[in-house]
C-alpha cells in the first residue's frame, strides 16, 4: 500500500505515515474552519437559550474527531483530528487556546470507545457511542464552571438526556454520513471506508 509508514519505527505515532497525518489534519482543518460559526453560535446560544442548545452545538464540534477516526482508523486519530480542528480555530475565535484544550479533551473522550474495542469496530453503533460518551464527559466538565449543579433536578436530567442523544445522533450520525458521502467521491480509496465502497 502506498504511504505506509516505514517498518520498524517505534515510539509515538508509530504506524502513522505522513499521508495519514495530513489527511487527518486536512479533514480536521476543513471541519474546524466550518465549525467557527458553530463556536460563535455556541457562545450566543449559551447566552440566549441556555445550556440545551449549547450541548447540541458542542456535539457538532465533535464531528471532526469521530470522522477522522472513522476514515483513518488508527489509534490517536480522534485526538489528532480534534487537535487540528481546535488549532485552526485559535486565531479566529475569541476563546483561543481554551477551545484548543476543550477540543483536545473531547477528542480524547471520542477516542475512548474506540480504544475499548481495541480499534476493531467502526460501525455506526460505535460511532454513536463515541459521540454520546464524549458529550456526557463534556457536560460533566461544564457542570462546575457553568453552575449546572444548581439547576432544578428535572432540568439537569433533561440536559443529560439531550446531551447523550445529541452526541449519538449529531456527532456519530453526521460523521458517518459525511465520511460515506466523501468516500463516494473516490478520494478515500486508500482507506478502509473507500475500499468497502468499491467492492459494493
Amino acid at each position: 500500500m502506498i504511504g505506509q509508514a516505514p517498518a520498524g519505527r517505534r515510539g509515538k505515532l508509530a504506524g502513522w505515515s505522513t499521508r495519514d497525518l495530513l489527511v487527518v489534519a486536512a479533514i480536521g482543518a476543513a471541519l474546524g474552519v466550518a465549525l467557527i460559526p458553530v463556536t460563535y453560535l455556541g457562545l450566543t446560544l449559551m447566552a440566549t437559550l441556555g445550556p440545551f442548545l449549547y450541548a447540541l452545538s458542542t456535539s457538532l464540534s465533535r464531528v471532526p474527531s469521530v470522522m477522522t477516526m472513522y476514515v483513518v482508523r488508527r489509534p490517536g486519530a480522534a485526538v489528532l483530528g480534534a487537535l487540528v480542528a481546535g488549532l485552526v480555530q485559535v486565531p479566529f475565535t475569541p476563546t483561543g487556546w481554551v477551545i484548543l484544550v476543550a477540543f483536545a479533551l473531547s477528542g480524547a473522550a471520542c477516542e475512548l470507545p474506540f480504544l475499548l474495542t481495541r480499534y476493531r469496530r467502526f460501525g455506526l453503533p460505535t460511532l454513536m457511542i463515541s459521540g454520546a460518551v464524549a458529550a456526557l464527559l463534556g457536560l460533566a466538565l461544564q457542570y462546575v464552571p457553568f453552575g449546572y449543579g444548581n439547576l432544578a433536578l428535572l432540568v439537569q436530567l433533561a440536559l443529560i438526556l439531550t446531551a447523550a442523544a445529541g452526541g449519538a445522533l449529531i456527532t456519530g450520525g453526521l460523521a458517518k454520513l459525511l465520511a460515506d458521502a466523501l468516500a463516494k467521491t473516490g478520494v478515500l480509496s486508500g482507506y478502509a471506508v473507500g475500499q468497502k465502497r468499491q467492492e459494493v
Binding site: 504511504g3 509515538k12 505515532l13 502513522w16 505515515s17 505522513t18 499521508r19 497525518l21 495530513l22 489527511v23 489534519a25 486536512a26 479533514i27 480536521g28 482543518a29 476543513a30 471541519l31 474552519v33 466550518a34 467557527i36 457562545l43 450566543t44 449559551m46 447566552a47 440566549t48 437559550l49 441556555g50 489528532l80 487537535l83 487540528v84 488549532l87 485552526v88 485559535v90 486565531p91 479566529f92 475565535t93 475569541p94 476563546t95 483561543g96 487556546w97 481554551v98 477551545i99 462546575v144 464552571p145 457553568f146 453552575g147 444548581n150 439547576l151 432544578a152 433536578l153 432540568v155 454520513l177 459525511l178 458521502a181 466523501l182 463516494k184 467521491t185 478520494v187 478515500l188 486508500g190
Partner: protein, 272 residues
Amino acid sequence: MQTFYRDTGAFLQRLNPLSKVLAFFPALVFVALVTDPWTPLAFIVLTAATVLVLGRVPFGYFLKVAGPLLLLVVGFLIFYPFVVRGELVAGSPVLFTLGPLTVYEAGILYALATALRIYALILLSLSFTLTTDATDFVRALVQQWRLPYKVGYGALAVFRFVPMLGSELAAIRAAHRVRGLSEGGGPRARYEQLKRYAVPLLATAVRRAERTALAMDGRAFGAYPERTYYRRLRFAPRDVLFVGGFWTVCLLIVLALNAAGLLGPLVLLQTT
C-alpha cells in the same frame, strides 16, 4: 477571514506564547471555581488592563471584540433565574412574578455571578488570542512542550490550506449558482445543501493533503530523529518575569478580596 491577533510589538506579543498559557491557566481554573460576583469582576479588570497596557492593543479594537461578548452576561441574567434549583432561593425575597414563574433575588444574584464568571473566563482566553501569533504557538508547543513535531508541522502545513478553503468555497458556490441550484428551504434542503458544500470542500482538502504529504516525504520529513528549526523560541527572563508577576498580582487580588470578606466559598468546598 480576520484573525484577532494584533502585532503591536509590545511586551505581551514578544513573550513565548506558552508563558501566557502558564500565566493565565491558574487564574482560569480559580475563576471557574468561585461563586461570588466580585472575584470574576476583579479578574475582568485585571485582564483588560493587562491586554491594554502590556499588549498595547488599541482600546477601540478591544471594545469592538470584547463588547459583543457581554451579550453572554445579559443572556445568563435572562435565562438563569427561572431554572435555578429550589433550595438555593428558599427564603430569599421575591422580586417579581411573571405568570407561573417567580423570580427571587437569590436567583438574580446567582445568575449575575455565573455570567460574570463566564465573561471573565472568556476575557482571560481572549487576551491570549489578541496577543499571540497562532503559528508561533504551534512552534512553541513543538519546541518547548514536546508536541511531536510531525503533528505540529502537519498542522502548520494544513494552516496554509485555510485561505485556499475560502476561495474553494466561493468557487463551489459559484458553480452551484451557475447550475441554478437554489439556496435555503426546509431542514431536508439544508442537509442537502450542507452535503453539496461540505463534500467537495473535504474532497479537495484530502486531495491536497495527499499531494502535500508526498511533497513532504520527498523532502525527508520525519526521516531523521534530529530536528532543526528555522525559528527558535525560548523561555527568556521576561517570560519568567511575566508569569511570576501575573501570578503575584492574582494572588494579591485574591488575598485582598478575602480580607474584605468578598470572596465566596469555592464550588468544590461547598456542602450543598
